[in-house]
Symmetry: D2
Subunit: 358 residues, 4 copies
């Protein structure tokens, strides 16, 4: 199935970039949960375009209209449904793409998958704009999780060659994450932001784009969440995280660096803390053993590919003439989507935890 996700909750995302609206349904949320829509708007604004030169200049209001599931600001237990109207569309930008698939985009694969019937305008159902629905759903879930003591936050760990200071896998705190999780272009080291912005600006001036790595943490998750084999935190998280366009890798804890480690180094020693809680001295496991939470911070990283839409001329094919051809993409694009993808990663983590803890 393409756009439905979840076991204990059901997330359904619909709409396209250039239709009347996009929308989202979140089924089986707990009732009687107060939802602050202003806090939801803060999250949606972090993802919204048009903020600065690092992002596309396309501006969207991104105001959700609630159709069910909320009454007087409290969840009713009915499916929480919202639509976000599309206010700013320039379909002419996309007219040519049915013939000339954009390298790195889904234009070609979607045409094959849907036998040419797919709506190409703005990427249709493949549009990054649909991540607004994830952010809405995640912003609702994170408020419910917060009342259970859980805090989620992320930052740009790397953009191009510029790197931010990584999270401390053992000591990262709710306070640390709350200092990040309402910001645009979240980083732990201000110097990193400057370096990242410079690399993005250089890419933009070259009519090119940059990729990066997002690091995300969830603290306050109790031990014992998740299940063995296919019900593990890693399985559930990655199954939704790969729903974020441009993600090409997901790793947990020490991730790929475990390849060079020995067991004696990678194993996290258990100990009792001053409160009689079992903790681990290190956290190479990223808070997960056997798919189940240890109670230590959950840590994961996402590899985000450079925006495929670039101004440079690119080699492609002409599907009408069946000849090789070149394409120069016009329209408004992000030289780097990493800053806008940070709240999306947090949102996906919140939805995944809501599903696992429901």
């Amino acid at each position: 199935m393409s756009s439905t996700w979840g076991n204990n909750i059901k997330l359904s995302i619909f709409g396209g970039s250039h239709t009347g609206a996009i929308g989202v349904v979140l089924d089986n949320l707990p009732p009687n949960e107060k939802i602050d829509l202003d806090a939801v708007r803060v999250q949606m604004a972090r993802r919204a375009p048009g903020k600065d030169k690092t992002a596309t200049t396309r501006v969207e209001a991104d105001e959700p209209e609630i159709l069910s599931g909320l009454l007087d600001g409290v969840t009713t237990g009915a499916p929480l449904a919202a639509i976000i109207h599309n206010t700013n569309m320039r379909s002419k930008d996309y007219a040519d793409l049915k013939v000339h698939p954009r390298p790195g985009h889904a234009d070609y694969t979607a045409a094959v998958r849907y036998d040419g019937a797919n709506d190409i305008r703005g990427g249709g159902h493949f549009s990054g704009r649909l991540t607004a629905c994830l952010v809405f759903a995640g912003a609702v879930c994170r408020q419910i999780l917060a009342r259970r003591g859980i805090t989620i936050g992320a930052h740009a760990l790397q953009i191009g060659t510029a790197k931010d200071a990584p999270f401390d896998p053992v000591h990262i705190s709710a306070e640390d994450l709350d200092a990040l999780n309402t910001r645009f272009f979240s980083v732990t080291d201000p110097a990193a932001e400057a370096a990242m912005r410079e690399e993005i600006e250089n890419a933009r001036l070259d009519a090119d784009s940059l990729g990066g790595i997002i690091e995300c943490a969830a603290v306050g998750v109790p031990a014992g969440i998740g299940s063995p084999m296919f019900g593990g935190i890693e399985n559930v998280f990655s199954s939704i995280l790969y729903g974020i366009p441009a993600v090409k890798g997901v790793e947990f804890g020490a991730g790929f660096s475990v390849a060079g480690m020995r067991g004696s180094e990678n194993n996290d020693p258990f100990y009792y803390d001053e409160n009689g809680c079992v903790k681990t001295e290190t956290n190479h496991a990223g808070g997960i053993l056997g798919g189940i939470t240890t109670g230590m911070p959950i840590l994961f990283r996402l590899a985000v590919k450079p925006t495929p839409s670039i101004g440079k001329a690119q080699k492609t094919v002409d599907l009408s003439t069946k000849q090789n051809d070149t394409l120069t993409i016009t329209g408004r694009h992000d030289p780097c989507i990493v800053p806008r993808a940070i709240p999306v990663a947090e949102a996906a983590a919140a939805i995944a935890l809501m599903d696992l803890m429901r």
Copy 2:
């Protein structure tokens, strides 16, 4: 859910390391598919323990007994069910672990998750032995996929500091993969195997263990398989790949290296090949755009953590006295599970493709 997986097929895995048998059910396979059980045994033998010094000396016959779904060697359309009897168990090795959870293992998290009721013997349902069920199911699926022109193979890309030559993302062929996918300790460069074996032997002599990276490819997958958002190749593959114990990272195509790339470099230019097929000059996408196959080789890498069971004394807790303590694990263990995990990775890929193409 822990041990049930799949949308178009349903995989159900049961049993534990120290019960009478482990077993697997694969529901909704196509009927009238001839299954060569000798070819299945070849795959199971690649995973089976007791092969050499790189693996545990525990020996298991791993002979599957078919209970339904096959008649005269042909699939009937009924659920394909098989059990694999456990012939070699030393439960005494595990008596102490309820009190002293092993660092890096699920002993502690399972105890919390299942309120102390979990079967600890041999890791119970968390045992790596259950991957024999994945290999059985994958060995069945890969025979069906082979008749549709699909070939899957993997190798040890890295163990400790020793590295094998990576697959050519564009030109990797069915012949290349068939040269690997029936071998134990599959590598593309014989010199790499020698270096890897030496590192493993050194770890073993140090009563320690090593992690690694497995690279897997699937060729012959037609363009247009998979769906946007949550039905993508990456979502489906990772949701089963993280069911392999010790996997801490999954990346596709260029994976985490996209972070340092520009769009002009990462985008794979389209062109028409001599047969009028659309191909890409490079394959940073790992054969996947928008979650949907391009027709180029599907490529992914798994980060496999070092076996947590090591002979060295380790810090842990005593859950009975609530004191910090130390643990020295006895019994038979793999200094490196990467060689045995290679056929498991291939099997998981085969099951995932069977689900996506059913």
Copy 3:
């Protein structure tokens, strides 16, 4: 899960009677299917209220707004999403029901289920109005099924004591069904309609309501659709049919009358027809054996309870004072929902078949 249904397609229904809109998402429809929205409107008009004295006088436009999945009248393969705006709401009619649950309604059970948070206005997510979403989705599916030779139609078999002539289980034809499946108050015998209308009018004048039985048939369904055990036609159909409010029974073929039959009478003899097709002389099986279609007409019946909203004073409780009390329901209600439920039954059958044949 409450409002998400389906295996091969995913149906998601959201909204409430007194919110801005209700809506529906249908994920994984085949692409390139032409959808005639006027034909969809015909189906929605059959269910819409305000038609005559047999139904509530509440009038709704029920005009669907498509948000994705259709482009130039053709399915794109993206989730087909539509919202139907609520134009006519009298919330004051419902103010008292939080305290005095209506007998036969979900007011009390929803209050317990959702800890009092449920939206009571117009029944909230329990409103029969949400069946408009089923009719929309079914109207789309039946057009796709029609191109595969499948026709669905239903009629009022019984209302109160008035009975219509039942379908001929063997010879019911597409023509017979097409003569019914665009009508309001569909019956095979005009005399039956008059008798039914008279009973309904008598009930209305008594400030009371009537139940009935709907009989539905699907012809042209090829043999071999469905699966044993839990994937059978009966399992799948009933799992969606019980989603229609007021349905208290579902039977297939001879249904409950099999209780008094002998095997020699109930078994349907096989024979080859003039075209060399296997048929059955009788069709007590309702076109289903072992959960799988025989190729004969699929036949099922729904028991529809009398509308619980009646003008008569009824005994109920006062949940605030915890005293027994009486309730007299005001507002606009259907003396009999059977006529409006007929297109809903057809729609549910179309969605179920779409799921089974996708």
Copy 4:
């Protein structure tokens, strides 16, 4: 999917009548639940064949072998898996059926569905023998439910023309049900059993078979279980109940008799009982409003068709010669499966409630 069922638990059934064994997996049961295997055997014995002249003389031990999920008689939280060995098979009885499909059986539809590959021996995966797996799973679930105050029991309401006294929908008690739910040929009125046995014997002597109606109740289910639309008690129950071979109708509460009732008669008035609990004076709803339990007894009825295997000569086709033909079935058959189906109905109800309350 054919043989996997459930949302909050996953039931997987495998094996066939004439393979080495049949088996069942129940995933996601709560841990630390004590399971009395003798009580499980009592339930399996109620379903087992060879009991008396009302059933087939084929004798099966039906002793389950537990492969995981139970340790020292307590659930571990791992998938509860059991196999039941097939000890008594006469395959020769079935050799002819590939050519001559039995009327009323799935021989023909399975051949079409599985392109002739289906295992016909003993009905293969369509065999009623697989209901032993349902009874095993249900016997485990009902023990867990019993600790939550829930009791389930059923009886033969009708066989042929002989009728038993129906349950009192309001006052049926746990004691009433416990007096029935360990018996073979459960009835409330001993005189009914005699009459039913006589009708069955007459059918048997005529080489014919009889159908019937099973009535089942569950008491002690708290109010508030179930969800609107597709997550209702009726949807979930019927989706598993139709997995019992020969079931052609399922109704809840007043069921099909609602057709002739008025709202003022069918609505169940609410009142506060002496303990301050909300109850209903009548229970036409069968304990379900809006798909959610009211706290009153859950009541449902199953229509069970006469065993299709009869000794009389029947008309059928010869699929090899494509000619019409006749068939006389030899082998051992039940003249009436209703008595043996009673524990299966109770088991399915227990599994459904376990899924809904997990």
